[in-house]
């Protein structure tokens, strides 16, 4: 099973476009990332530029609209993510508990969909089996 751990740092929505994580934070997190790597469970990870440099596309009224960041209405924004392999939701939670997160951080854990979770017809459509 795969899980995504979404890092939601408080206040990241207000971070300026030149924001760069400080070297101490990076080092602390590197040790954690290495522990995931050493345990053979790390599949992917990335840090994301702050929303002030990003954009949002909304689809109200069937009309796609682009809005440039920052997004003042957004209470929580994603700062980065890990994708890990775990045998259970509990295991993913345990990994998140070990993260040297700041007091104001939140990590949200979400299971990644597997094709096998979908009904056969959906799977077959996705599979596009030869006739």
């Amino acid at each position: 099973m795969r899980f995504m751990m979404l890092m939601i740092p408080k206040g990241y929505g207000q971070a300026g476009p030149d924001f760069l994580p400080d070297s101490q934070s990076i080092q602390t997190m590197m040790k954690y990332n290495e522990s995931l790597q050493k345990a053979g469970v790390l599949l992917a990870l990335d840090g994301l530029h702050p929303p002030s440099t990003g954009a949002r596309v909304t689809f109200a009224g069937g009309k796609p609209t682009v809005t440039d960041g920052p997004f003042t209405e957004a209470k929580e924004v994603i700062g980065g993510y890990w994708v890990i392999q775990a045998k259970s939701r509990e295991e993913a939670i345990q990994w998140a508990l070990r993260c040297p997160a700041k007091e104001t951080d939140t990590i949200e854990i979400r299971q990644v969909f597997e094709l096998s979770e979908f009904p056969d017809e959906t799977q077959a459509a996705v599979n596009k089996l030869r006739a």
Binding site: L43, S88, E91, A124, N127, L129
Partner: protein
């Protein structure tokens, strides 16, 4: 929350903690008692203690530390009480008192520095050639994989008691043969490492391919094997074949979603919808392969197999496959491990690169090989080549022969379909 649901959560959480912490705990204990089998038992005792106490007291704030402390106490007791361990220490000329003192004080720092070495010692013990294969598999999953007996039993579709027996017998053999808790000497290292990699590959294949019956895949076992492989790559980063094995596993695993239809029928490589190939795993596999080839240009067996798998992984469609390269790689593999099966796989690649006639010559030469005569894939390959050469009657006969030789129900059906169809 109803009591029953809470119990399940606790159990699953304890299992989760165990997956994460147990290898390290066993490694630290093995460092103290210099015996992998004893260390495993002590760790098990700590797990039992957790299962007994945590439902009532709740999960400790630092469950890893709790387990380690519980295990350490038992280790120090064992040092005092266990005759065999005392003898071992005398053999090593070590002062038992000093050992106990060290056990209590220096462990925290020893942990980070030496734990890698201790984990390696554990792995080499678990995969010792003196142990039967099934014992090596169970012990490796237990020691390095942090799986409980129940989990291993579920994975291999056997009763829990069977796995307990296998682990017990393995530990007895370790004790009886006085298998030392060590990394093998340099002269033996390559061969011993090879047998470790073989165990991991065996576990992967147990999940990836079914030999008999109606079952096809158990992806969870593939994940377990992948995790073991990745752990080994961190423990022995200078060993190219470890990265080669990881590369092979990542790339093969990338195809899991595409290999089986919803009804459970196998889909051959060239019929798979490559959109379903997991790009993340392919990326990881290619990176691991690169690491292996950079460390040693003269490729070992697993690195070669990974390089072949990589050729397929890089091809967006079957027509994009670099068949001449695959032929070269199989030739290299054949030089390394001359085997009729490698020869058969090479001939398939020759057929794709240089036409069915050239391949049929090679396959016909292989037909006399005792290993291949009753091998269903030889006949299936021959059938395929004959069909391409428009020798339809002979092709159908070969597919029917292949169907009669395979024990796997789904493969049999596939062969019969090919015999009937085109």
């Amino acid at each position: 929350m109803p009591a029953a649901a809470f119990q399940t959560d606790i159990r699953q959480t304890i299992e989760a903690v165990w997956h994460i912490e147990s290898a390290r705990i066993i490694g630290v204990l093995a460092h103290i008692v210099r015996d992998g089998a004893v260390a495993e038992e002590l760790a098990q005792d700590a797990l039992v203690a957790a299962l007994e106490q945590w439902p009532a007291s709740g999960i400790p704030r630092n469950p890893g530390a709790w387990l380690l402390a519980a295990a350490k106490h038992r280790a120090i007791d064992a040092l005092r009480r266990n005759q065999r361990i005392r003898e071992k220490h005398q053999e090593l000329g070590r002062d038992l008192e000093a050992r106990q003192a060290m056990a209590a004080a220096d462990l925290e720092s020893a942990m980070d520095d030496d734990i890698g070495d201790d984990l390696l010692r554990l792995v080499f013990t678990a995969c010792h050639p003196a142990l039967p294969t099934e014992g090596r598999v169970a012990l490796t999953l237990r020691l390095l994989g942090g799986l409980t007996t129940a989990e291993i039993a579920r994975a291999f579709l056997v009763p829990e008691a069977t796995i307990s027996q296998r682990i017990l017998r393995a530990k007895k053999t370790i004790a009886e043969k006085r298998i030392p808790f060590e990394v093998p000497p340099a002269a033996e290292l390559a061969e011993r490492l090879s047998s470790v990699l073989d165990v991991v590959y065996l576990i992967f294949n147990e999940g990836y391919t079914a030999r008999a019956g109606g079952d096809w895949m158990r992806p969870e076992l593939c994940e377990d094997a992948l995790r073991l492989g990745r752990i080994l790559a961190e423990l022995a980063p200078a060993e190219p074949e470890v990265h080669g094995l990881v590369a092979l596993l990542e790339i093969q695993a990338s195809r899991i979603k595409a290999r089986v239809s919803p009804s459970g029928d196998p889909i051959l490589l060239f019929d798979q919808n490559r959109v379903l190939w997991d790009r993340l795993l392919i990326h990881r596999g290619l990176a691991a392969l690169d690491r292996a080839e950079t460390l040693r240009p003269a490729r070992g067996r697993y690195t070669l197999e990974a390089a072949i798998a990589a050729c397929h992984a890089r091809a967006l469609t079957p027509a994009d496959t670099d068949w001449p390269r695959i032929v070269e790689l199989y030739s290299e593999l054949a030089r390394l491990m001359p085997s009729p099966i490698v020869g058969l796989n090479r001939s398939v690649a020759v057929g794709m690169a240089y036409g069915p006639a050239a391949a049929l010559e090679l396959v016909d030469a292989l037909r006399e090989e005792p290993l291949l005569r009753e091998y269903h894939l030889l006949h299936s390959v021959r059938g395929d080549l004959l069909r391409k050469l428009s020798r339809e009657t002979e092709a159908r006969a070969e597919f029917r022969r292949a169907a009669s030789l395979t024990e796997n129900e789904r493969e049999r059906r596939l062969m019969l379909e090919r015999a009937a169809g085109s």
